[in-house]
Amino acid sequence: MQITVNVNGQDYTREVSARLLLVHFLRDEIGLTGTHWGCDTSNCGVCTVWLDEVPVKSCTVLAVMADGHRVRTVEGLADGDQLDPVQQGFIQCHGLQCGFCTPGMMLTARALLNREPDPSEERIREAISGQICRCTGYENIVKAVRWAAEHEAAARTTEPRTTEEATV
């Protein structure tokens, strides 16, 4: 059947089988391989993407369910050349080792910060509790998310000044 999915702001129309999973649609049909494919049983969380702004495990969502909906993947995190603060945090805090869990971790972190700009370490750990880092690098992942939270907070306090300066 024919479906149209908006991925990272762009519509993709493809003829797919009903049994195609969203993770394979993203990777194999439209070539966005940043979304990883791991356990296939919705345990590991490496396939996490946003479906209408909500993080979901794309190995357990049918591509046809995303027809007419918005999906955001790791390829859609950066704004052009400008990395998302979460991505910058992962660089600054060494939030990845092998990198396999990183796309899913960053998408969950971005969703968390959008809802809770200043999450505690405990809240961050809870938010990523459905995602496994087999390098066991959780400490630095949590630090990376805190880094992003703090830098976004700093950016927010400077923003009004910039606006005032602009109006002056």
């Binding site: 089988s17 009903a18 919705s42 049918l62 027809d67």
Partner: protein, 291 residues
């Protein structure tokens, strides 16, 4: 690569449309919502429906609200919504307790309340919670709507009273003043199915248990319900001795099976101990509300 076998996909645009599709496809069709139980089962060929009827677009089934003297939960409400609902927590904190330990946050974003009940997994948490609070399942078919107590909803493992042409649309929880509720679970690791879990709702009147509901999961309790323990405690003084006795009765009257999560005697011990803990916390909450 794990992929389901071939099936036909239908997207329902309304409850009536979903019912028409169910009638059209017959008993080999399955409703899919969050899909976090059904799709893994289809990958393993444990389930092999000819058609999936997707109800994810039915916003009319996604709600948490007070209707008269009941808390009504639409079947398509996601676990995250129940977890975060202040309204649900105000009346029945048992749901927040239970939701916090169901799967993980990303799975909870997708999985639904109705799906959890209809999956009828013998270790499912909300089935015990809804049994404890004596909730009502609202089931719609083309012939009309019927209401079934959750305590009669499960026929057996993976089997419910919902007929092939029917759809669970709502879970209705009666609100009675003066109550408290709680859920206690032991799991091997975060997000796992329960080794055992107990839910309790307690209504107090002057130090006496005016009414009580107890649900159990993963320990082979019929209908996820500890009926004999409830019967013992109802009308009794709220004392440690009576709570302990209720726990013992709950432990004796369930039928756990040994598996990789533990032997029978351990699970029975957990059923007993978790019943006491859930009762104690529910009673404390009831007392806190009354004062």
């Amino acid at each position: 690569m794990q992929v389901p076998a071939h099936f036909e996909y239908e997207r329902a645009t309304s409850v009536d449309h979903a019912l028409a599709l169910l009638a059209q496809w017959g008993p080999e069709a399955r409703i899919v919502a969050g899909g976090h139980s059904l799709i893994p089962m289809m990958k393993l060929r444990i389930a092999r429906p000819e058609a999936l009827i997707d109800i994810n677009e039915l916003a009319e089934l996604s709600y948490l609200r007070i209707d008269g003297d009941a808390l009504s939960i639409g079947a398509l409400t996601r676990h995250t919504q129940l977890l975060e609902s202040e309204l649900a927590a105000e009346h029945y904190p048992i749901f927040r307790d239970a939701e916090r330990v169901i799967a993980d946050p990303v799975v909870r974003n997708r999985g639904t309340i109705g799906g959890s009940l209809c999956q009828a997994d013998p270790s499912e948490d909300l089935s015990a919670a809804f049994s404890a609070v004596d909730a009502i399942a609202v089931i719609r078919g083309q012939g009309g709507t019927r209401q079934v107590p959750v305590r009669d909803f499960h026929v057996g493992p993976y089997e419910t009273v919902v007929e092939p042409g029917e759809l669970l649309t709502e879970i209705r929880v009666p609100i009675k003043p003066g109550g408290g509720s709680a859920y206690e679970k032991v799991e091997r690791r975060v997000g796992d199915w329960a080794v055992a879990a107990a839910g309790a709702a307690v209504w107090l009147s002057g130090g006496v248990v005016a009414d009580v509901g107890i649900g159990l999961t993963a320990v082979g309790a019929e209908h996820f319900h500890a009926a004999q323990a409830e019967e013992f405690l109802r009308g009794k003084e709220l004392s440690d001795a009576n709570l302990a006795e209720a726990g013992q009765i709950a432990g004796q009257n369930c039928h756990p099976t040994a598996d990789q999560r533990g032997p029978v005697d351990y699970k029975r011990h957990l059923a007993q101990e978790l019943t006491v803990r859930a009762l104690r916390r529910a009673a404390a909450r009831a007392a806190g509300r009354a004062s």
